[in-house]
Symmetry: C2
Subunit: 336 residues, 2 copies
């Protein structure tokens, strides 16, 4: 440690400017001088102090990623993709977990610690509309998710309504008519749940099928257990259903478990559709048909948009970037 430019300069018999030039591949350094400096660097095991460099340059080469919880598979897979993309761009990522707690999310937004990063990719869950003012435009932020629509920041997200509608239409096209929903949120205006519900209703409406509140199961937290609970509650009411649309994969998997336990066959008696295309949906029993909302594209675009914003200063007005989706057909909706 503690080997500085000055030490290297001393050993090489040059000024620190020359050493700096060598390190930064500055062109105008005589071949012989360069060699001497490189020898000194190797001899001393010098490596530049990034903190000092950052202080000078005003950049840190790091971005922050704030998600509710890495132990939720969706966010784990999102984070994996974001880190991979950032890595490729030569940027490191520090990950914050907000626990979907509004107070913690505000803390991230106000960013006492933002000095350590050049920008933030932020996927809030608890934030309210009135918190938006907190998002200053000075610090580069890219928002993810559905929770915030009018922040003065770029927003990368998915086509929730269209994708949920397509998923529902897929089930309808199979002749399913009593399509239950698991994972609805009560009294929610914004957010993935309400958007996906809208897509579901649009599809029903277009097919002339009445909406039935009795087969809409609430699950506030989208954990596997809450999906299972909602399904169990619904079955206890002896409803008639021939399909289940889980508003995300996690609740869909929980619901599917309860369906199978209840003696129903999937997909023969009840088809099951998820949303998110988590890796594990490929390996559930049966494997789960789901909607790939374009997570890979979202990660890539979030990173590149943020880096452009960081590099470009106070560029254009906030943009909304929408990923393409795709239905991934698996066993849980196989025909016959």
């Amino acid at each position: 440690m503690a080997v500085t430019l000055r030490d290297v300069a001393g050993v090489a018999g040059v000024s620190i400017k020359t050493v700096s030039n060598v390190i930064n591949d500055h062109p105008y350094v005589r071949q012989e001088t360069r060699a001497r400096v490189e020898a000194a660097i190797a001899e001393l095991g010098y490596s530049p102090n990034l903190t000092a460099r950052n202080l000078r340059s005003g950049r840190t080469g790091a971005i922050a990623l704030a998600v509710p919880d890495l132990s939720l598979p969706y966010f784990a897979e999102l984070a994996a993709a974001v880190i991979r993309e950032a890595e490729a761009a030569g940027v490191v990522v520090f990950v914050e977990q907000t626990g979907a707690d509004r107070a913690r999310e505000l803390e991230v937004l106000r960013g006492r610690r933002r000095g350590l990063t050049d920008g933030l990719i932020f996927s809030p869950l608890g934030l309210e509309a009135e918190d938006l003012a907190e998002v200053g435009s000075a610090y580069p932020v890219v928002m993810l998710g559905e929770r915030v629509f009018d922040a003065p920041a770029h927003h990368v997200t998915m086509r929730n309504v269209e994708a949920a509608r397509a998923a529902t239409e897929y089930l309808l096209a199979q002749g399913r008519r009593r399509i239950a929903v698991i994972g609805a949120h009560v009294d929610e205006e914004v957010g993935s749940a309400s958007l996906r519900m809208r897509g579901y209703r649009e599809a029903l409406d277009a097919a002339g099928i009445p909406y039935d509140d009795a087969i809409v199961g609430r699950a506030a937290l989208w954990h596997r257990s809450s999906g299972a609970d909602a399904m169990r509650e619904m079955l206890s009411r002896d409803v008639d259903i021939d399909a289940v649309f889980g508003l995300n994969d996690t609740v869909a998997l929980g619901a599917m478990r309860v369906l199978l336990r209840s003696g129903r066959r999937v997909p023969e008696d009840v088809a099951v559709m998820g949303f998110d295309a988590l890796n594990e949906t490929e390996f559930s029993i049966p494997s789960l048909t789901t909607v790939d909302p374009g997570r890979a594209w979202i990660a890539k675009t979030a990173v590149s948009t943020l880096l452009a914003r960081i590099a470009g200063g106070a560029d254009a007005a906030p943009r909304r970037l929408l990923a393409d989706f795709r239905i991934v057909e698996r066993e849980s909706t196989a025909r016959d």
Copy 2:
């Protein structure tokens, strides 16, 4: 941005030292002065430049966590726990993904970027014994996992042999006698797989049951698909088994899927045991009996050990810290 101590001092009509004193809760500041400074801070929206502070202090307040891949549930849950612990200690965490690639792991170890962090929690998968020399003792490192046993660094890990032995004994105690293994690695000397295999064999030996290579399935990568593949291959050979011990939960879940598909009942015909206690094991169908190797403790201990090492300088000799394990009984091994 760009509001500095100097600006605040100007507005408050004091020197920067006084502002600094206020910010750092230095005791000797008159009440009135403090109030004036705080007003100025609020007015200007000042927040200290962490990079400058770091440069002065030589600390960054950040640590790095290097894992193979966050989209692997084990590492996602580990990372979640590490970040939570670090958070509580007021430290942020950079997450790096090495892809279990030796070259990338070496890169992390050599750490061109380590200047951004005060230390590293490192869970390698590809590293070889001869790479250990790379671990200098100047930079605080805490190792996780089984891959490296003699690094000059603290090592926090689990009781693989004992836990695997206990898991096997649990199955034996149920009267299972043909216990297959899924997830063995070929020709591996170090690593979780060989340790857990050792525990398995110890239990068999103690029970006087011969080891049978025909019911040991290899799965190099411990993905769900490789677990499923290994199980399928084994079943295709028409072997006689009454239990499966997956060397981790992921392969166990993949194997369980194939068992169920093959028409076998779990646990009636074949009991299934996993290892890791991933969240999802609670919600599989049937839920998976597994070994909790003490991941929460490992995360907590890794963070506290690293922070102690950072704070304490070149302290004691490398220590090995072992977590307690626990068998989590679920449906996949329920009796009768």
